[in-house]
Assembly symmetry: C2
Homo-oligomer: 196 residues x 2
């Protein structure tokens, strides 16, 4: 699910094409018709849907999403710059099967403008977090985190660019972990138990 | 200032002895008479003081600390496992000249049991932070942070031990930064501007 350029979406499509991730991207949904990522996905031969959220309740909108994902046989939903909160209906329909990526080392700097928050706080290290989505914002169990050093002369733009590079590595790796048969969720701790 | 074994204190003494840090440890103060670090410092020929906090207000106690530090000509105070909040009097007497080390990547996991907090949250990365002390707990401007990967089988003990190794590297490095003539504090961001 995207709302914008979909650069993390492209990283996931690439990883599936290269079989780094053993899965197929079955469907890309955007709530914004003009999202550049929607056209990119279409050009790469992936089914796409625009489902407008305007003028409808979050529940109505999200039940359409659930129907579309189920019809396509989707097993895992990845939020890639999808700029809306999810309803309980959607979260429960895909319990522990929705991933999000956030540009900070959660629980530090949740919410909007995480890179700006990190700079203003004066953090020396930031990064990105891929986590399962639960009902609280940027809060669910963490699949993986990658760190990025904050440089003394960083601006929001330069820091965001370096974090984005790590996001493109982190997201496919996180999807592989969650799809692994050994993936376990123990409270908030996640692990991959490989067979002997 | 210590309250316990003083392993970060020893790392700082070593760094000064080896001239990795260009400074001398002038005085070690503990609020606990039996703190093992106090005996270690004494054995290494460093002046030590036990200043009891019991039965006295925080302000009374801290004014004794200020007097002791000033008499010794101390320019920078390092908290190394000192388990008491500082009064405004002490913070203001050594404004931006008091350092603390905390076993997490602040602002994540402030307060007690930071390593346990990180494990229970399911963080995949933690570390340590050296920061200037202000009136809020674990909050002042950050001098540096070092990261530690959280392993799937980590316990509080194993994670704490690996973070402590990084603390012993981080603290001397942070002291060097703060003592550098190029050290600058800009809002919450710290930097070292080296001469051309």
């Amino acid at each position: 699910m995207i709302s914008g350029r979909g650069s993390n979406m492209e990283a996931l499509i690439d990883a599936c094409d290269n079989q780094v991730v053993r899965a197929d991207v079955g469907l890309v949904i955007s709530n914004i018709e003009s999202a550049p990522g929607l056209a990119k996905a279409h050009d790469r031969g992936i089914d796409t849907l625009f489902i407008n959220h305007r003028g409808r309740s979050r529940e109505e909108h999200d039940l359409d999403l659930v129907a579309a994902f189920q019809q396509q046989g989707v097993g895992l939903i990845c939020l890639a710059g999808y700029m809306r909160l999810l309803s309980t209906e959607l979260i429960n329909a895909f319990k522990d099967r929705i991933l999000n990526i956030h540009p900070s080392l959660l629980p530090a700097f949740p919410g909007l403008d995480a890179q700006r928050q990190a700079l203003e706080y004066g953090a020396k290290v930031s990064g990105c977090t891929v986590h399962l989505v639960d009902e609280e914002l940027d809060h669910g169990p963490i699949i993986l985190q990658r760190t990025v050093e904050v440089l003394e002369d960083d601006t929001v733009e330069t820091l965001s660019a370096r974090i984005l590079e790590q996001e493109h590595i982190a997201y496919p790796e996180a999807v592989s972990r969650v799809l692994s048969p050994g993936f376990k969720l123990e409270g908030r701790r996640t692990r991959v138990v490989l067979p002997e």
